[in-house]
C-alpha cells in the first residue's frame, strides 16, 4: 500500500522529532518527580521504580512482578480475557501476596511502598491509580477480542515487564493513534470496518 510507505517516512521523521522532544520532557519530569517523591531511587535488585513515579500513588514496579517473579498479566488484570476492560486489580489482590505474614519485600524502598498499600487496605480506601493507557472515548477497544486473537499484552502496552512504574512506551513502539491500530489490523487481516471500534 502506497500510503503505508508514505506514512512510514512521515512517521520516521516524526519519531526523530518526537524522540528529541520526549527526551527533553523526560528530563523535566525527572526533576519534578524528585521534588515530589523523596523515596524511590533504584532498588537493590537494580529495578528502577520509574522516573515518573510521582504521578502514581504507589511506585508499583511492573518489572519485579512481571519479569523477576514471572507473574502473568491476567493474574492481576483479571478481566482482560472476558471483558472489554482489562481491569485494575482491587487492593485485595495486592494484599493477597503482600498481606501480613506473606511475601516479604527485600528492598527498603519496596517495604515503604508495601507499607503504603497496607495503609490503603487498613483504611479501606482504594488506591487512586493514574491512568496511563487510554484510548479516546469514541474508541472501543475490546480486550477480550485481542487476547482471543493471540495478541500479547506488550504488543500494545509496550515492554511493561521492563518498566518500573508504568509508562507509555515511546512512539517508536507505537503512538497509540489510529494509524497504528489500522496498520496492525491490516497486517493481521482484521476488520477495518469503522463501526468495529467507533460507535
Amino acid at each position: 500500500m502506497g500510503a503505508t510507505r508514505k506514512i512510514g517516512v512521515a512517521a520516521a521523521m516524526v519519531t526523530v522529532l518526537a524522540g528529541g522532544g520526549l527526551a527533553f520532557a523526560q528530563a523535566g519530569q525527572e526533576a519534578d518527580a524528585e521534588a515530589q517523591m523523596p523515596t524511590p531511587a533504584a532498588s537493590s535488585t537494580g529495578t528502577n521504580y520509574g522516573n515518573d513515579a510521582g504521578i502514581q500513588p504507589i511506585a508499583f514496579p511492573h518489572a519485579i512482578h512481571a519479569r523477576d517473579n514471572q507473574i502473568d498479566c491476567a493474574y492481576c488484570h483479571f478481566s482482560a480475557e472476558r471483558s472489554v476492560s482489562a481491569g485494575i486489580p482491587p487492593v485485595s489482590t495486592c494484599i493477597g501476596c503482600h498481606g501480613p505474614g506473606k511475601v516479604q519485600v527485600q528492598s527498603e524502598q519496596g517495604q515503604e511502598q508495601v507499607a503504603m498499600v497496607l495503609e490503603y487496605w487498613n483504611n479501606e480506601e482504594t488506591i487512586p491509580w493514574v491512568r496511563i493507557h487510554k484510548v479516546a472515548d469514541h474508541v472501543k477497544f475490546p480486550h477480550m477480542r485481542h487476547i482471543n486473537a493471540g495478541l500479547d499484552c506488550t504488543q500494545c502496552h509496550g515492554p511493561v515487564q521492563e518498566m518500573g512504574v508504568l509508562q507509555q512506551p515511546d512512539d517508536a513502539w507505537g503512538d497509540g493513534k489510529m494509524g497504528w491500530c489500522i496498520s496492525c489490523h491490516v497486517e493481521n487481516d482484521a476488520s477495518r470496518d469503522c463501526t468495529v471500534c467507533h460507535y
Binding site: S83, G87, P89, V130, R131, A136, D137, H138, D193, C194
Partner: protein
C-alpha cells in the same frame, strides 16, 4: 474544542464509590494528558466484572402495575431498566415511564439530605436529629398521627400500618389514578372488593368504554401485550376486533377498528343496551333483568344519539365471539361512574366473560383504588385540628387534588408536617421536615400485582451518593424505636424477609428459605399457580342505589371537559423527568407544554387554530392553554391532560402546562367515593395569544405517499401480485422502465423484498455469506404507538434531551419518531376509524441516500448491512440529513449531552456521547451487536437468532419489532419479510432498499392505502 465535553461526566466522583471503567464514553480527543484516576475496589464484589454489565431483577415502583424489571448496571451504576422476561406482568417489556424511572433516580433536583424548615427556609439536618425531632413530635401528638400515602407494596403498607398502630395514628391513601368506582362496582356486582384482572389475549372482540389500557389503565404493559396478541393478525389471517366507545379517542381509542363517539357519560346506556339484547337471548341477567328491560337498545340510542341497530349489531358481535368489555377508567369517572362500571360488569357477565377474561380472585390487581372520600375525611380532620403530625409519602395531594378540596389550607394548619418526598413537590414545599426516601431502584420492597404473582424489589445499586437518602420504612422503624413504641424488625429488609418467610411456607417450596429467597431475588418473582379459569361469579342483587343515566355536569359552558391521565406523567408524579417531558404525547405529539384538545369543527366555530391560546373556564376555575385541534374528540367535548402545571417540582416539570385539576369540583362520586373527573362543562374563549407548541408533527396527512398503507383483511391470503399491487401506487413506474433501458444495474424491484439481491453482491461486495445482514421487521398491525421504544432507545443510546425551545425549532434528538397519520377520523360519524402509527427510525437503506453525500465518509455502509455513522469523523455538514428521505437523522446543534450531575450517571458507557456539531441516528444498537459478537467469538460459537435484541424491540409491549440476520433464512426476521403484508417505506419511489421492513396494518374495511 471537544475536550470540554467530558466535563459532563465526572468519572472520578463516581468511581470513588464503585470501581473501575468508563462512566460514559465521551467523544473527546485523543489526549491522554488529563490525570484521570482509576479507582479499583478495595475488595471486588463477586458479581462485577469491569466492562461487563451486571443485571439485577427488581420490580418497577413507578405505578401500581408491578412490572418485573431487570436493571442493567455498569460498574455499580444503574444505566438501563428493562422488562423482566420471566415476569408474568411485563414479560420483558416495559412502558416509557418505567424506562424514565432512571431520570428520577438521578434527578439533579432530589433533596440532598434530610431538611428542616426553619423560618420558612429549608435547612439541612442530620438523620439523627431529624429522627429525634420526628419522634418527639409524634410523642407530642398523642396518637393523632396522619399518614397520607400513595399506593404502596404490600410489605411497605404493612410496615406503615404496624408503625401507625404502634405510635397511634391512621393512614389514608391518595392516588390520582385510583379506580375506586370500578372496585365498588365489582363489589356490588360480584361481592369481591377488588379491581378485576382482565385477560385481553383470549378475547376476539374487545369493547372499551373509554378505558385507556395502552397508556395508563391498571396494567398497561400487560394489557397492551394481551391486546396486541388478540388483535394482531395471525398467520391464518385471524384478527381480533376492537370497538372503542367514548367521547374522546385516547391512544387506546386510536388503535380501535371502530369508534362509537358517544356523548360523555353515555357508556352505561350503551353497555346496558347491549346487555339487554344479549340477556334477552340467554336470560343471564340475574337480578338485573328488570333494569335491562328499561335500558333497551332503543332507550340507549335515544340517550346517546346512536342508531339502535348499531347497538344491536355490537351486541351480536359481543355475544358471538370471546369478548371483553372494559372501561371507562379515570378519565370517565363521572358522577355515575360506579353505575357505568357496573353496567360494563353486567355486559361482561351476560356474555359469559366473568371468570375467564374478567378475573375476580382476591387481590386481583394491585391497582390503586382507595376512594377520595377517605382523603376528604382526612382533610376535614386536619382542618379541625384533629391531627398533630401529618406524614406524606409517595403522593402529592397538594398538586393532585382540586383546590376546592381545601387540602392546602388544612395541611398548612397541621402543627408538624413531614414529607418523605425524594424530589421536591408541592406538598413537600409546605412540609416542616423532609426525610427524602430512596428511589425504588435503591430500595427494598415487593409487589403483588395480580393473583399468584409475588414480585421482589431489590436495590440495583448503592444509593446515589449525591443524595443522603434513607428508605422510609427504615426511618419509620427507627422513629418508632426513638418514640418509645418500637415495631418488630430493625429494617425494612428484615421486615420484607419476615413476610416472605410466611410466603415461603405457604407455597410449600422444597428448598430452605435462604436458597428460595436467593432464587426469588435472582428471578425477581415467585409465581404461585392459580386456576386458569375460576368459577364465574354470579351477579348479586345491588346493595346501593345506582343511576345508570347520563350524569349531571356543572356549569353551562358549551363543552364537556375531560381530564385524563397522562401516558407520560400519570397523575403528575413522573413530571420532573426530562425524558417524559421531551417525549411527544402519543396522541397530540406535543412535548413539554400543555394543550387543550378541541375538535376542528369546534375550533372553527370558535375561530381558533392549533396553537391559539384559549381560556378554559369551568365553575371551579379557569386556565389558559393553547389549542390542539384533534379530530378524535367529539365537537361538544374538550380534554386536558393531568399531571402538568407543576409549580414546586424540579427544573424539568415546573411551569409546563397547567394543572387540569383546578377546573374540577372536589366531589366524591357515590357510592364509591372516587374523585369525579368528568363532571363539569367549560366555556372556551380565545385570548388572542398564540403559543408556539413544541411538536414533532409536521403533517398528519400521508399526502399520497403510502408511508403507512393498510391492507383490508379480506384481501389477505390472495395472490401475492395483488397484494403488492395494492401497496404504494408506484409500481410499474419509471424506475423499472429505466431498468429495462439498461440505465440501472441489476437492482430488482419487483417481487418479494427478500428476493432482492443485496446491493453490491453482483460486484462482489458483501460476498461473505457468513457475515450477517442485519434487518428489522415492524408489524404495524401490532404497534399501538405507545412510544415506549423511544424512551428505551433514549436510555440505551445516550440520546440527549434538548428542552422545549430547541424542540420547538425541530431539534429533538429522538432516534425513533412515532409518526401518526389519520386516514379516517371523524367525530361526526360513527364507524370505521383508521389512525396509522408508524415508528420511523433509520431504515439502514442498502442504497442509502445519506451515504454518498457525506464528504468525509462518516456515513457509510458496514459489511454487516448497517448504515454506520462514525461520530468522530463527522464534520457536521448536515448533507446526509437533507438527503435522508425518512428524516431520521438528528443533529447536535449544541452539546446537549452536558446534563446536570448526576443525570450523567445514567449514560451507557458502551455508547459514545455526542458533542456539538455531530450527526447521529439509530445505529440498530450496534453496541449490542458488537457485544454479542465479541462474546460469541471468544466463546467460539455462532450468534443465535434472537440473541441480538435492540432496545426498542426489547421494550416493545406489543411485540411489534423483530430484529435479526436476514441472511439466515430461518431467522424470525427473514420469515416476517416473506409476509404478504411486508413493504418498505418509499422504496418503490426512490429505490432506497431499506433494511427495515414494515408489515401493513390490517383493517376491517377497504383501507385507504394513503397513496391517493
Amino acid at each position: 474544542m471537544s475536550a470540554d465535553m467530558s466535563s459532563g461526566i465526572k468519572r472520578r466522583d463516581f468511581l470513588k464509590v464503585v470501581g473501575v471503567g468508563g462512566a460514559g464514553a465521551a467523544l473527546t480527543g485523543c489526549s491522554t494528558e488529563s490525570a484521570e484516576k482509576l479507582l479499583p475496589y478495595v475488595v471486588p464484589p463477586e458479581d462485577i466484572t469491569p466492562g461487563v454489565a451486571t443485571w439485577y431483577t427488581s420490580t418497577c415502583g413507578d405505578c401500581t402495575a408491578g412490572c418485573g424489571i431487570w436493571v442493567r448496571t455498569r460498574e455499580g451504576r444503574a444505566v438501563k431498566v428493562e422488562g423482566n422476561p420471566n415476569h408474568p406482568v411485563s414479560e420483558g417489556a416495559l412502558c416509557q415511564r418505567g424506562h424514565a424511572s432512571l431520570q428520577h433516580l438521578y434527578s439533579p433536583d432530589r433533596f440532598t439530605g434530610p431538611m428542616q424548615r426553619v423560618n420558612g427556609e429549608l435547612q439541612p439536618i442530620s438523620w439523627d436529629e431529624a429522627e429525634v425531632l420526628l419522634a418527639q413530635q409524634i410523642q407530642g401528638a398523642a396518637g393523632n398521627v396522619l399518614f397520607i400515602g400513595g399506593s404502596m407494596g404490600p410489605t411497605m403498607a404493612d410496615l406503615v400500618d404496624q408503625f401507625l398502630a404502634s405510635v397511634g395514628g391512621s393512614r389514608v391513601e391518595w392516588d390520582g389514578l385510583a379506580e375506586a368506582p370500578l372496585r365498588e362496582a365489582t363489589r356490588i356486582a360480584f361481592g369481591s372488593d377488588v379491581v378485576p384482572h382482565y385477560d385481553f389475549e383470549s378475547a376476539d372482540f374487545i369493547v372499551s368504554f373509554g378505558a385507556d389500557f395502552i397508556e395508563t389503565w391498571i396494567s398497561p404493559v400487560a394489557y397492551q401485550r394481551g391486546f396486541a396478541r388478540a388483535t394482531g393478525v395471525d398467520a391464518e389471517g385471524n384478527k381480533g376486533e376492537f370497538v372503542y366507545v367514548g367521547p374522546r379517542l385516547n391512544l387506546t381509542g386510536q388503535n380501535a377498528d371502530e369508534w362509537v363517539p358517544i356523548p360523555a357519560g353515555g357508556e352505561a346506556a350503551i353497555a346496558l343496551g347491549m346487555a339487554s339484547v344479549i340477556a334477552g337471548r340467554n336470560g343471564n341477567a340475574g337480578p338485573y333483568a328488570q333494569i335491562l328491560q328499561a335500558y333497551s337498545p332503543e332507550a340507549a340510542a335515544e340517550a346517546t344519539g346512536l342508531e339502535a341497530a348499531t347497538i344491536r349489531e355490537l351486541a351480536d358481535r359481543f355475544q358471538n365471539s370471546p369478548s371483553l368489555a372494559v372501561g371507562p377508567g379515570v378519565a370517565g369517572q363521572h358522577r355515575n361512574a360506579t353505575a357505568a362500571n357496573l353496567a360494563i360488569h353486567i355486559l361482561n357477565s351476560v356474555a359469559g366473560n366473568v371468570g375467564t377474561r374478567v378475573r375476580l380472585v382476591e387481590n386481583a390487581q394491585s391497582a390503586a383504588s382507595r376512594p377520595y372520600g377517605e382523603v376528604e375525611a382526612a382533610i376535614r380532620s386536619m382542618a379541625s385540628g384533629g391531627v398533630g403530625v401529618v406524614m406524606v409519602h409517595g403522593t402529592n395531594p397538594a398538586h393532585g387534588l382540586p383546590p376546592a378540596a381545601g387540602f392546602d389550607e388544612a395541611f398548612a394548619g397541621v402543627p408538624f408536617k413531614v414529607s418523605f418526598a425524594s424530589e421536591p413537590d408541592e406538598t413537600a414545599a409546605m412540609a416542616d421536615l423532609i426525610l427524602p426516601d430512596r428511589h425504588f431502584l435503591e430500595a427494598w420492597g415487593d409487589a403483588s400485582p395480580r393473583p399468584g404473582v409475588y414480585s421482589l424489589q431489590q436495590p440495583a445499586m448503592e444509593a446515589v451518593p449525591h443524595f443522603d437518602s434513607k428508605q422510609t420504612g427504615d426511618v419509620l422503624l427507627s422513629v418508632a424505636a426513638r418514640a418509645g413504641s418500637p415495631v418488630g424488625p430493625a429494617t425494612t429488609y428484615d421486615h420484607l424477609r419476615n413476610r416472605w418467610q410466611a410466603l415461603h411456607q405457604s407455597v410449600g417450596a422444597a428448598e430452605d428459605f435462604d436458597a428460595w429467597w436467593r432464587g426469588a431475588l435472582k428471578e425477581g418473582v415467585v409465581n404461585v399457580p392459580v386456576p386458569a379459569t375460576e368459577e364465574p361469579a354470579a351477579l348479586r342483587q345491588p346493595d346501593a342505589a345506582l343511576i345508570f343515566d347520563q350524569p349531571a355536569f356543572d356549569g353551562d359552558g358549551e363543552f364537556v371537559l375531560m381530564v385524563y391521565p397522562s401516558s407520560r406523567f400519570g397523575d403528575g408524579r413522573h413530571a420532573n423527568s426530562a425524558w417524559m417531558q421531551e417525549l411527544p404525547d402519543p396522541v397530540s405529539k406535543i412535548a413539554w407544554h400543555g394543550w387543550v384538545e378541541i375538535h376542528p369543527a369546534a375550533a372553527e366555530r370558535l375561530g381558533v387554530e392549533k396553537g391559539d391560546v384559549v381560556s378554559v373556564t369551568s365553575p371551579h376555575g379557569s386556565v389558559d392553554l393553547p389549542v390542539f385541534t384533534y379530530p378524535g374528540i367529539r365537537d361538544d367535548t374538550v380534554a386536558i391532560q393531568m399531571g402538568m402545571g407543576r409549580e414546586n417540582s424540579g427544573r424539568y416539570a415546573n411551569g409546563n402546562g397547567v394543572n387540569a385539576m383546578t377546573l374540577l369540583p372536589a366531589e366524591a362520586e357515590q357510592p364509591s367515593g372516587g374523585l369525579v373527573h368528568l363532571a363539569t362543562r367549560v366555556s372556551v374563549v380565545p385570548t388572542g395569544d398564540v403559543y408556539r407548541l413544541a411538536t414533532i408533527e409536521g403533517s398528519d396527512d400521508q399526502s399520497k405517499r403510502g408511508i403507512a398503507p393498510a391492507a383490508y383483511i379480506g384481501s389477505l391470503g390472495q395472490s401475492e401480485e395483488e397484494g403488492y399491487a395494492e401497496e404504494g401506487g408506484y409500481e410499474k413506474k419509471p424506475l423499472e422502465e429505466m431498468q429495462m433501458l439498461g440505465g440501472f444495474g441489476a437492482v430488482q424491484v419487483d417481487g418479494k423484498a427478500k428476493d432482492w439481491p443485496l446491493p453490491g453482491t453482483d460486484r462482489g461486495d458483501y460476498a461473505d455469506p457468513e457475515t450477517p445482514r442485519w434487518a428489522m421487521a415492524i408489524d404495524l398491525d401490532k404497534c399501538t404507538g405507545c412510544s415506549a421504544c423511544i424512551v428505551a432507545c433514549q436510555s440505551e443510546n445516550n440520546v440527549a434531551f434538548v428542552g422545549e425551545d430547541q424542540l420547538r425549532m425541530g431539534r429533538d434528538l429522538a432516534w425513533i419518531r412515532l409518526e401518526r397519520y389519520y386516514e379516517t377520523v371523524d367525530a361526526s360519524h360513527a364507524g370505521t376509524l383508521d389512525v396509522r402509527h408508524l415508528p420511523m427510525l433509520c431504515q439502514h437503506c442498502n442504497n442509502a441516500p445519506c451515504e454518498p453525500v457525506c464528504p468525509v465518509v462518516a456515513a457509510y455502509h458496514t459489511p454487516d448491512g448497517l448504515n454506520g455513522q462514525v461520530y468522530n469523523r463527522c464534520v457536521g455538514t448536515r448533507y446526509c440529513a437533507n438527503n435522508c428521505p425518512y428524516k431520521v437523522r438528528v443533529y447536535n446543534w449544541y452539546s446537549y449531552a452536558d446534563v446536570p450531575e448526576p443525570l450523567n450517571w445514567q449514560y451507557n458507557p458502551d455508547v459514545t456521547i455526542r458533542n456539538t456539531g455531530i450527526m447521529e441516528k439509530c445505529s440498530f444498537c450496534v453496541q449490542r451487536i458488537r457485544e454479542v459478537q465479541n462474546k460469541a467469538v471468544v466463546e467460539g460459537r455462532a450468534i443465535a437468532d434472537g440473541e441480538v435484541v435492540p432496545a426498542c424491540q426489547q421494550s416493545c409491549p406489543a411485540e411489534a419489532i423483530v430484529f435479526g440476520n436476514i441472511r439466515d433464512t430461518s431467522s424470525r426476521v427473514a420469515e416476517l419479510v416473506e409476509n404478504e403484508r411486508t413493504y418498505r417505506v418509499l422504496d418503490k419511489l426512490i429505490n432506497t432498499q431499506p433494511a427495515v421492513h414494515y408489515l401493513k396494518k390490517v383493517t376491517f374495511h377497504e383501507a385507504e392505502d394513503g397513496t391517493h
